[in-house]
């Protein structure tokens, strides 16, 4: 979509025109649902976060001043909505309680990820919620540990240690999965 068309679309969304809102939703919903899916354990929860996130996007659209990419602004709202959902939802909240643990010696390997995207997402979602959240925030969203600590209300050290553990576990799982695929000749 051209920049001018996109600006017109945003203007119409600001005027609360349903057709424009629908178009904006269709433009961003698939990638944002992918994001929500990575933070949650079920598709219905992911869709709930997506729904809540988009309502916020439309409600606060006038706060977007055109600084930075619009997709990034939407993504930020979705991440915050997902984190809030995890904190509020009892099923996730228990898993978000981080133990203050010392930094363990962990693997610093950089394995090549031979899995398909869907398989990698499935593995990330198998991590306990705390690990999953920190992994998503650091490795995918690119937040710094100090920012993650502030977002989740934990120490920076806890964020680092949790990430390191999540990374180690995930690499182990990736290697196992890759090995299995190799053994069975699956691409």
């Amino acid at each position: 979509m051209h920049q001018k068309d996109f600006e017109l679309l945003l203007k119409n969304c600001l005027k609360r025109k349903p057709a424009a809102q629908r178009e904006l939703y269709e433009l961003f919903a698939p990638s944002m649902l992918g994001l929500c899916y990575r933070y949650t354990k079920s598709m219905s929860d992911a869709e709930e976060v997506l729904q809540e996130g988009f309502v916020k996007v439309f409600e606060h659209l006038k706060q977007y001043k055109g600084e930075g990419e619009f997709g990034g602004w939407v993504r930020k709202i979705m991440v915050n909505t997902a984190l809030n959902f995890l904190k509020v939802n009892k099923r996730y909240r228990q898993d978000l309680l981080f133990d203050e643990m010392p930094l363990h010696v962990v693997s610093n390997d950089d394995p090549q990820v031979l899995l398909q995207t869907k398989e990698l997402v499935a593995l990330i979602r198998q991590l306990p919620t705390g690990f999953q959240t920190i992994f998503n925030l650091y490795a995918v969203e690119g937040f710094k540990h100090i920012e993650i600590a502030s977002m989740l209300g934990i120490n920076e050290g806890t964020s680092r240690s949790q990430y390191a553990r999540a990374r180690t576990v995930l690499i182990e799982w990736i290697e196992k999965k890759s090995q299995t695929k190799e053994n069975y000749g699956i691409k």
Binding site: S42, S44, A46, V55, K118, R125, R167
Partner: protein
Amino acid sequence: MESNNFEKEVGKMMGEFKLAPEEEVWARIEKEIASKKGTRKIILLFFLLALISTGGFWWMYYPSISRSPSTFEDLVKKENSNKTNAITLGDAAKNLQTKNSRLSKSSRPGAHISSVQTVSINSTKTFSGKSHAFASAKSVKTIHFSQTSSGSVVSADQWQREASNNIYVLRKMINQPFVSDLTISKRFQIRTLNTPPKFSPILKKPANKKHGWKLGITFSGGGSWIESMEPRALPAYNVQSSGFNAGSYYIPGYIYYPSRPSSFQTSFSFTAGVFAERNLSSKTNISVGLSYLQFSIQNNVHNNFEFAEVPFLFHFHVNRNVRFPLTLDAGLSAAQIVGSNAKQYDYLYGRWYHDNDLFNKFQANVQAGFSLPIFNRHQREIRFGPGFYYGLIPLANHGIYDGKHLHVLNIHAQMLFGKK
């Protein structure tokens, strides 16, 4: 291999990861946006009503608050400054003569009259051992002067303007017929009073109990429901066919068809509480109270919400019927959920669970209804009437109560303590 290569690769792959949402998601977003728009309209309507009420209140009380003359002489002086469309006292005296021959032609230079009426006072009231007579002129905007049949002007301490824009004329000599010539801009009625005028500095009667707070108790019961009787709808989700597993809960080879909770059904709700009420005017009362509200709704299980609420209500007297004075009650209440056994439903795993943190604990409700006193001649006032109750804030923003507002249609009963 470069450091952080893993993160870069994962980030890149996740950036490309997309999923198509169900069509129903957009329908729910659309509905939520519309409901927020509706809430904004309600808030706007409420502020509009508040503005109208404030305006009405000001209109009713402004004359007595800021335009009430301090003395009769002040009023005459004020009116003297505006002689437009006025006739002289000489003309007024002629009018008086034609209307009542008993009226003398005594004049008061500079005073103006636009209409005249003769009235006799029959009723009397005794204060401080002296008898007084009262007359009230309703909807009178200005008084130019008042005059007795003997020709003497009613002195400054013999009349009083009351809040509801009535003029009361006080006479100590009641054995003579009373003639008042008052200037009136609207319709003019003089009526005898059974009760003394309010705010009378002349009579120096004790503080008017009509304007004190009266305590009361209130009970109400009726049907409660939420606007959409269907719980938050979600499509049946087939974990396996979606191509992904459901995280650590996934059981390979198991196709999951989630069940659904049944529709919400109307249930019984009630309130019980105490309140304090006072008169603002002859037409308006206000009340504030503390109540317990149990709001119930039924689906597969019986769900109760318990609220502690502080209602603030205006009571407007709709008619002047002495036997059946109908009152319109309207106002707001601030409520806090203090407990609930309401169950949430996990669509994915098909299980019920309890999580009160999902609810919006603070609730603001708008109330409206009518009240009619029964046993009106009874010493204690007892009122009955229908009422409606609507929650401005949704019960929750998540779960099956997401976006649902409480509605109650009830019959209420109130008893006021203290003599009427």
